[in-house]
């Protein structure tokens, strides 16, 4: 039989392929912004199928949830309607203040710090297979004007940034990923801080803020937004609220745990700010 003979070469073949993989690791170690033609061509097969399966899965989960939660939904609807009334009223007041603010800004020749950024909606189609990273893909790519380092939001909160773009998909690294750190600011006290993703807090869905000086008077429910120091993230995007504060006895600093505004457990739709932010340098 022919197969018996070829087995002698199997070990060598595997070794050769292993060397190729090893070489690829070294080549792609530093950067891989360029999506190679091979990746592109596979994307045309994989992405549509992933899309289909995800849509179907989401649809199924939604149906099941809908049936099992119908009582809760009615109550929620009631509460939300009341909230809409309240918010409409508040919004009118805010609109008036906004006009006033604009007038004053013109007067003082200030820039719009928290301008409206152009946004594109996208759908989450796949997530990292393993349990170590929080990287996911969305169904918009370079064909829709998405570029690396664009910022991704969900609801009111920061989700992450684009790290890789293909023709019809883009990869997003979320801020809860262990590799992620974002320059933030505590809104009430105007103190700068660094918001880090932490895998060990991942299950609870929290983010950690390390090394807050002891003299900063942090309280629960303090809001944290992105700061003006970031090179990727524009300032003023809400990240989350402080829910727990601990003292770090080793470094005489405080550690705060924050609850992100974006719901990372059920990310289905996200917004991409379709404009790259170039920091103040």
């Amino acid at each position: 039989m022919a197969r018996r003979k070829s087995k002698i070469n199997a070990t060598n073949m595997v070794a050769i392929i292993a060397i190729v993989f090893f070489f690829l690791i070294i080549v792609t170690w530093e950067t891989r912004d360029e999506v190679s033609p091979v990746e592109k061509s596979i994307a045309y097969v994989i992405i549509p199928v992933q899309k289909g399966v995800t849509y179907f899965g989401d649809w199924l989960v939604e149906r099941v949830d809908f049936v099992s939660n119908i009582k809760e939904l009615e109550q929620l609807n009631q509460e939300l309607l009341e909230q809409v009334d309240e918010l409409t009223y508040e919004n009118q007041i805010l609109d008036q203040s906004k006009l006033e603010l604009q007038r004053l800004r013109q007067l003082y020749e200030l820039d719009d710090r928290y301008a409206d950024y152009p946004k594109t909606g996208a759908r989450v189609i796949a997530k990292d297979p393993g349990n170590w990273y929080s990287v996911f893909t969305i169904d918009k790519g370079s064909a829709d004007g998405i570029e690396v380092d664009m910022v991704v939001l969900a609801g009111a909160g920061l989700v992450g940034k684009i790290i890789d773009v293909g023709p019809n998909y883009a990869k997003v690294r979320s801020i809860i990923d262990d590799n992620s750190s974002v320059s933030g600011i505590i809104v009430r006290t105007n103190d700068l801080c660094t918001v880090k993703g932490d895998l060990t807090l991942f299950n609870e869905g929290y983010l950690a803020v390390d090394y807050i000086a002891d003299d900063i008077n942090l309280v629960i429910n303090d809001e944290i937004t992105t700061s003006h120091l970031g090179t990727v993230y524009p300032p003023g995007i809400m990240i989350g609220k402080v829910i727990r504060i601990e003292d770090d006895p080793n470094t005489l600093t405080q550690i705060a745990y924050i609850n992100p505004y974006a719901d990372f457990k059920n990310l289905q739709e996200v917004l991409v700010i379709s404009q790259q932010w170039l920091g103040d340098e």
């Binding site: 992933q50 349990n131 991942f202 299950n203």
Partner: protein, 176 residues
């Protein structure tokens, strides 16, 4: 003979393709405290045990490459690990009773722990994340238990698919 080969490799590629699709999409809906089982390990081990080292190595390389391309920081890391896991597992092919569950479960458990230790070593330890016990308790052990549990169920299905394919192959070979 050609049609049999087509069936063998066609079903194999389809299985790999859908393993990756499922792992990256709707598997998230069966997560338990943020942990999902590793279907790819289960499938790679099954390929190695049921079809031998070459098929195991191919399955590992293909699934690893897909993961690297779509989610990895570097290309080749998971491909390398998974390929060798499939290849090494393939050496047990022919050497055990395939309807016993002990060896598949043991190998899956060992492979899952090995992969996660390597990931921790090369990506987390290198960045100075030293709290190994936290990662062990929160990621590695839960994933191990979940993967072994799902693997126990899935292996039996894959075993049956493989036996029916092999049956057809043998009957065809007998005819010629």
């Amino acid at each position: 003979m050609n049609r049999v080969k087509l069936m063998r490799y066609g079903s194999g590629s389809l299985l790999l393709f859908f393993t990756f699709i499922l792992q990256s999409t709707i598997l998230r809906s069966i997560e338990i405290r943020g942990i999902v089982p590793n279907l790819m390990i289960i499938v790679i081990i099954s390929f190695g045990l049921l079809r031998g080292k070459i098929d195991g190595a191919i399955a590992g390389a293909v699934l690893g490459l897909l993961q690297d391309i779509y989610f990895g920081d570097v290309i080749g890391f998971f491909a390398l690990i998974y390929m060798y896991i499939g290849f090494a597992t393939g050496h047990l092919h022919m050497n055990f009773y395939k309807d016993s569950m002990l060896i598949p479960i043991g190998v899956m458990a060992a492979a899952d722990v090995l992969v996660n230790l390597l990931v921790f070593f090369f990506t987390f330890l290198f960045r100075g994340q030293l709290h190994f016990h936290l990662y062990l308790g929160q990621i590695i052990i839960p994933e191990l238990i979940y993967t072994v549990f799902v693997g126990f169920l899935l292996y039996q299905g894959l075993y049956m698919i493989n036996s029916s394919i092999e049956e057809v192959e043998w009957s065809k070979e007998y005819e010629e």
